[in-house]
């Protein structure tokens, strides 16, 4: 089973129909484990129990960037390799990524109120993630602005690749600027500085959220394929109806 086999939408639909229940089950199991570990994790000496927002905030933030990276790979698939399902993947991923970004901003804001004393601060990390959220929304608007999905796909692919410049800016913003948001603690040179009691639940929750994204993404791709089929059928039906009507009128008969 190579990637090219998945390019056939019908095969993709049948394969994912078999796969989806396992993905859902896996997601639920991982979330159960992750939430249990998060609940069992100790309180922070300084932040108390509010540190546990981290187990939701950080995976959402990681995923907001990961989804844009997945969309960039799909964009390359559309523009470079003309993979038939690449644009379906990109269109399906955009609202999911926007939701993760929004959740990251909201949970971070709720965490910031007790910790920093403010819901919002215009520092580099928060501003660049807000810009990422705006770009997600702009991308979703672009998808819906063009009627033909194939043409919208190519325009959206270009915009996705141009917007990918924001990902390294977000990642390194806490290093390049003096920010209120704390510097990197997990993915940094010299290894993680997070204690294992917090790192393990964090990584399990990150895995759970990633599997959630994959499940939602696969389900959304299936919906998009079916939606396009409905659109084609509607267009065929409209064409047939207009053919019937024009066949009935004398003007359409050959002279």
């Amino acid at each position: 089973m190579t990637l090219i086999d998945l390019a056939n939408p019908t095969r993709f639909l049948s394969l994912t129909a078999r796969l989806l229940p396992y993905l859902v089950a896996g997601t639920l199991v991982l979330f159960a484990i992750g939430l249990y570990l998060s609940a069992m994790a100790p309180d922070d000496y300084q932040q108390g129990a509010t540190v546990k927002i981290m187990f939701i905030h950080v995976p959402n933030a990681w995923l907001s960037m990961f989804v844009w990276a997945v969309m960039s790979a799909s964009a390359l698939g559309t523009l470079v390799w003309r993979h038939p399902l690449a644009d379906v993947s990109a269109k399906a991923a955009a609202p999911i990524g926007a939701s993760f970004t929004f959740l990251a901003l909201v949970t971070g804001s709720l965490w910031g109120r007790p910790m920093w004393g403010t819901y919002w601060e215009w520092d580099a990390r928060l501003t660049s993630v807000l810009i990422l959220f705006l770009m997600y929304l702009g991308l979703m608007a672009l998808w819906r602005a063009v009627e033909d999905p194939a043409r919208a796909a190519r325009a959206a692919a270009v915009l996705t690749l141009v917007g990918a410049i924001n990902l390294p800016i977000i990642k390194f913003s806490v290093d390049w600027w003096n920010t209120l948001h704390q510097p990197a603690s997990v993915f940094r040179m010299g290894g993680s500085t997070l204690d294992r009691a917090f790192l393990i639940p964090l990584l399990v929750m990150a895995l759970a959220f990633t599997l959630l994204f994959i499940t939602l993404h696969v389900a959304a791709m299936r919906n998009e394929i079916l939606r396009r089929r409905v659109r084609s059928l509607q267009m065929m039906q409209a064409r047939a109806a207009s053919n019937d009507m024009s066949a009935a009128s004398p003007a359409s008969q050959p002279a």
Partner: protein, 222 residues
């Protein structure tokens, strides 16, 4: 090269002669800058403090307004298809159009800055700092805006979508432009650092913009 020079000359001529072209942008710039004191009140020290930011915002919005015209006029009369089909590489043609647009629409904004600086009670140092940062930053605005203009050219009511797409990409230019201006006015913070990043943003957009715009035009026009 002759083809590109002809393209630049044609675009500048059209921009200058037809439909108010460059002067509409300057007029909008003037309007925005004049509206600010009405909203903020005539408090002169406040206007002086906010001056660079107001000028930068006005220039950003004015260049956004004129970007709409970059490709749509050619698309409507069919010359965009000719440009896409010609032997000149489309990337160079897009770069040439963006250069012409900057010369016709961006430079007048910079020329207008000293006059508008007077309205905002900015002194000589502040005004020249803002003008210098605008000179370094408006190419970035034009070339990244060209990407949005190319994406929106095939849509009939694409004007607002163009703004939504282009603004997130213009935010870094705005941030560093204002930071460089402020640094030049209030001494100790370095002017060179944000100004260098501003120049870097312009240079990067000079390269990325034409490629992205050409890709968008090719995909959007078939």
């Amino acid at each position: 090269m002759t083809a590109l020079a002809a393209l630049i000359r044609r675009d500048i001529r059209i921009a200058v002669r037809v439909g108010g072209g460059a002067l509409i942008g300057v007029l909008f710039f003037l309007t925005v800058v004049v509206l600010m004191p009405f909203a903020l009140g005539p408090d002169l020290p406040l206007l002086t403090r906010l001056g660079p930011a107001i000028l930068w915002l006005g220039a950003l919005l004015a260049s956004l307004l004129t970007l709409d015209r970059l490709f749509t006029a050619d698309h409507e009369d069919g010359s965009l298809d000719l440009i896409v089909m010609s032997q000149t590489p489309l990337e160079l043609a897009c770069a040439a159009k963006a250069l012409a647009h900057w010369l016709a629409a961006g430079l007048p904004l910079i020329v207008a800055t000293p006059v508008l600086g007077l309205l905002l009670n900015l002194d000589m140092v502040a005004t020249s700092a803002v003008a210098l940062t605008l000179l370094a930053g408006t190419p970035a605005l034009t070339f990244t805006g060209m990407i949005g203009a190319a994406l929106a050219v095939t849509m009939h009511r694409g004007g607002l979508l163009l703004a939504v797409l282009v603004l997130p990409l213009s935010i870094p230019v705005l941030i560093f432009g204002v930071a460089a201006s402020e640094a030049a006015i209030t001494g100790p913070v370095s002017f060179g650092a944000p100004f260098s990043i501003l120049c870097a943003l312009s240079l990067v957009s000079l390269v990325v913009g034409p490629f992205a715009a050409a890709a968008s035009l090719r995909q959007g026009l078939d």
